[in-house]
């Protein structure tokens, strides 16, 4: 081996090689709990104490048990519906408001923006007693949107639609040049047409990011859903699965792991679809220059 070869190898190592090592270590740290979950899911014994880090067996028993003995399919449907609707509605409502904040001047605009940030700092959950009392009354009058209904929970989540997301979207809208609005107005477009035909298509990255964030947050919500949904059929994945191992921590672990993997599917799918928007969207308007 000539010395220039050796020098090239040293440079490669210094500039690229160590990066591979670092990345592999990081991947190891990231993946080992996930590998453990996979291992538990395919473990034929299905208990916590018998599961090793690496999969020891390959059995679909846990999946079968999960789908047949619990209401998992129902929970899955509930969660996906609620999270999907919440994401769609929240993005729409939030973008409407962001459009007003960005493009229009009106009294109370600055105060409104600050108020949005401020209100979101009081976590909705802390008002849970009041919400419980409110919904006890609502369930009496309009049971279709009361406790144990997906519709009621969706309405409750919409309370948090205006917030940090509105602020992010507004920032993104601010980067769209006003000349577009002006030329469209000159061409005779109304504000509604400008909103739907021009603005929305231009800000799809931030819409995608917001939808993803709301989707993930809604699927993961445990606390509010736990108070709201007490009947087995109406539960979401978070509430149902928590109940599954609340009592039987050791015995039901295999089923729980199987459920976790299945729950990850919608999130990973949405994530992959929106991936190219995410990195761009999260830092848009923040880096100056």
């Amino acid at each position: 081996m000539s010395s220039s070869h050796a020098a090239a190898r040293r440079t490669w190592w210094r500039e690229v090689g160590w990066r591979h090592v670092a990345a592999l270590v990081a991947v190891g740290f990231a993946l080992f709990p996930i590998v453990f979950v996979v291992s538990a899911a395919v473990n034929p014994l299905g208990t916590l104490s018998s599961t090793q880090l690496a999969p020891t067996g390959a059995s679909l028993d846990n999946f079968a048990n999960l789908l047949t003995t619990t209401s998992f399919p129902r929970w899955f449907l509930n969660s996906v519906l609620i999270a999907g609707f919440a994401a769609f509605a929240a993005v729409f409502i939030s973008t409407l408001a962001a459009y007003a904040f960005s493009r229009m001047r009106f009294r109370g605009r600055r105060v409104g923006l600050l108020a949005l940030l401020l209100i979101q700092m009081f976590p909705q959950f802390l008002a849970i007693v009041t919400i419980f009392l409110m919904f006890t009354t609502i369930t009496e009058y309009w049971p279709a949107v009361g406790f144990n209904t997906s519709a009621g929970l969706m309405l409750l989540y919409l309370g948090g639609a205006l917030g940090v997301n509105t602020w992010l979207t507004k920032g993104f809208l601010d980067t769209v040049p006003r000349e577009l609005d002006e030329s469209a107005t000159v061409d005779g477009a109304s504000h509604v047409q400008i909103f739907f035909r021009i603005m929305l298509p231009l800000i799809t990255p931030i819409l995608a990011v917001t939808a993803l964030l709301v989707f993930i947050a809604t699927i993961n919500d445990f606390l509010i859903a736990n108070v709201f949904l007490t009947q087995d059929d109406s539960k979401t994945l978070a509430v149902g699965m928590y109940g599954m191992i609340a009592g039987q921590r050791n015995a039901n672990f295999g089923m729980f792991a199987a459920g976790t993997l299945l729950t990850a599917i919608p999130t990973v799918v949405v994530f992959q679809v929106l991936q190219r928007y995410i990195v761009h969207g999260l830092t848009a308007g923040a880096v100056k220059g």
Binding site: R110, M121, F122, G159, G160, F222
Partner: protein, 507 residues
């Protein structure tokens, strides 16, 4: 087309309003109906007029915000000034009724009734009604928890045993149905002027006199058996005797700032409260710090065009973020399990991770770092890509080493982009209920403070106060919620001001 859509949507609004109005009209809830009508009229006016354009965009979100965020928050804050909780749930009248009916004893000579248990609804679930026939006078009454109402003789049929066996508008429960609901039957007390009517078995009822009754003139409850007087204390919301004995239940009263000062001055609570506050800050700062450091470090390591397979690394590294957080928290909890957990088994250890305060704290920080670093990694990657390459190259040409170039050029630019997100992450982790509750449950709990554990955040402490087993204290929990809100708001405001983010908001 536009007009058609508008008409359709507004028609939908009106249809919903009408559907919602029916139950309100049926029960005579005029205030609610008024609000509904006013809101619907307001919406119609807004969208039919040509003016108020900003409002058209803001109203949908604001309506939900007011109903499900603003109103509950304001109401919760108002309960912080009361002693709402177990034993102080209703108003004074309800407390009096409850005390009286609980003290009813059958006294000799009190009227006896032949009882038929009935309901106006379904036999298994409808609200119970006692159909009572006074054995002496033969009059029939219908009694429920609101009191007695007379039933005309023509509407009932009395059987040979002296009990009502048919009544218009009621279904009489047979023995089997009544036995199934015997608990509810025992609990039902029909209030009367002198006491209450209680069931004795399934076919007889008696009127008892309340041993304790309320005397309006002295504003006290008098126990006729012992003669003790319990005076109403409006400051405490209870009836208290001279000996200090209290009657349960009490009622809800305004206690001013008592809840707030109690958190800071009551020696049993102040210590744990302040301790929890300190740990709360440490946890939030630590979470942000560790996730940021790890995320940026990995982003830097992968930030090289010469690194092949970058895209694959990225997909794998982001996986923790895509997995359902609530489930992974529970998985981590079980990995740290002292007996069956993976970590103890894999490394041959025997550490009770969640049993010791510092190991528990370390564990939850580790878990939260695992959950949070992908987010930081993603945004750091995006920010790094947005930094023009010329800047770092210029620094290199000037002779700066890689570490120097990072510190003086890259890092400041990164911070500009990421600071708002760091602040948001701090606010999120300050109230990260799931990360603590699902892993350590807030524990371990020192023996002298069973409500506040070593890893408790203010929010988990508050949750336990409101929903824990040891007697719900909603008013106190609400006061702590206000503290949490003030802390997060102040810290965020200060941080925002320092980054001069206000310039963006005020543009």
């Amino acid at each position: 087309m536009r007009l058609f859509l508008k008409a359709l949507l507004l028609g939908l609004v009106v249809a919903i309003a009408i559907w919602a109005a029916f139950p309100l009209i049926e029960t005579g809830a005029w205030v609610g109906l008024g609000i509904l009508v006013a809101t619907t009229a307001g919406i119609l006016y807004l969208y039919l007029s040509r003016r108020h354009i900003p409002a058209k965009y803001l109203v949908p979100g604001t309506l939900f915000l007011i109903a499900f965020q603003l109103f509950p928050v304001l109401y919760t804050v108002s309960t912080a000034f009361t002693n709402f909780g177990d034993g102080h749930r209703g108003d004074k009248e309800q407390a009096i009724v409850s005390i009286q009916t609980a003290s009813v004893r059958q006294l000799p000579g009190s009227p006896e009734y032949a009882l038929s248990v009935a309901t106006a609804g379904e036999p298994a679930t409808g609200e119970l009604v006692f159909l009572l026939r006074d054995s002496g006078t033969g009059e029939v009454f219908a009694g429920d928890q609101d009191g007695l109402t007379g039933v005309p003789a023509g509407e009932v049929n009395v059987g040979l045993d002296g009990r009502v066996n048919e009544a218009a508008g009621y279904t009489i429960l047979d023995t089997g149905q009544a036995s199934a609901r015997s608990d509810e039957i025992t609990d039902l007390a029909v209030p009367t002027d002198q006491g209450a009517i209680l069931a004795a078995g399934l076919s007889r009822a008696y009127e008892g006199r309340a041993l304790r009754s309320y005397d309006r003139q002295c504003d006290c409850v008098v126990d006729t058996e012992t003669g003790v007087r319990y005076y109403a204390d409006p400051a405490e919301g209870s009836f208290i005797a001279d000996s200090g004995e209290r009657l349960v239940p009490g009622w809800r009263v305004n206690v001013g700032f008592d809840n707030f000062t109690r958190a800071l001055t009551d020696s049993r609570i102040a210590g744990p409260f302040l301790g929890t506050l300190v740990w709360n800050f440490a946890f939030a700062l630590g979470s942000v710090g560790f996730t940021f450091a790890l995320g940026v470090a990995i982003a830097l390591a992968l930030h090289s065009d010469r690194l092949r397979g970058r895209a694959y690394y990225r997909v794998l590294l982001v996986l923790p973020y895509a997995m359902p957080a609530f489930a992974m928290l529970l998985v981590w909890r079980d990995m740290f399990n002292a007996d069956f957990g993976l970590i103890n088994r894999l490394f041959g250890l025997d550490v009770d991770w969640m049993g010791g305060p510092w190991s528990a704290r370390g564990s939850v920080l580790l878990v939260n770092t695992w959950l949070g670093y992908p987010y930081m990694f993603l945004i750091a990657t995006g920010a790094l890509q947005a930094i023009p390459r010329e800047m770092t190259e210029a620094a290199r040409i000037d002779g700066a080493g890689p570490w120097h170039a990072f510190r003086r050029v890259t890092l400041p630019l990164l911070m500009v982009a990421l600071t708002p997100l760091l602040i948001a992450s701090f606010a999120f982790n300050f109230n990260n209920f799931n990360a603590i509750y699902l892993t350590s449950g807030g524990g371990p709990f020192p023996p002298d403070s069973p409500q506040a554990g070593a890893t408790d955040l203010l929010i988990t402490y508050t949750y336990r106060l409101a929903f824990g087993g040891a007697g719900a204290e909603y008013g106190f929990a609400a006061a702590i919620s206000v503290y949490i809100f003030l802390i997060v708001a102040v810290v965020s405001a200060v941080a925002f001001r320092r980054t001069r983010q206000q310039e963006e908001v005020f543009r």
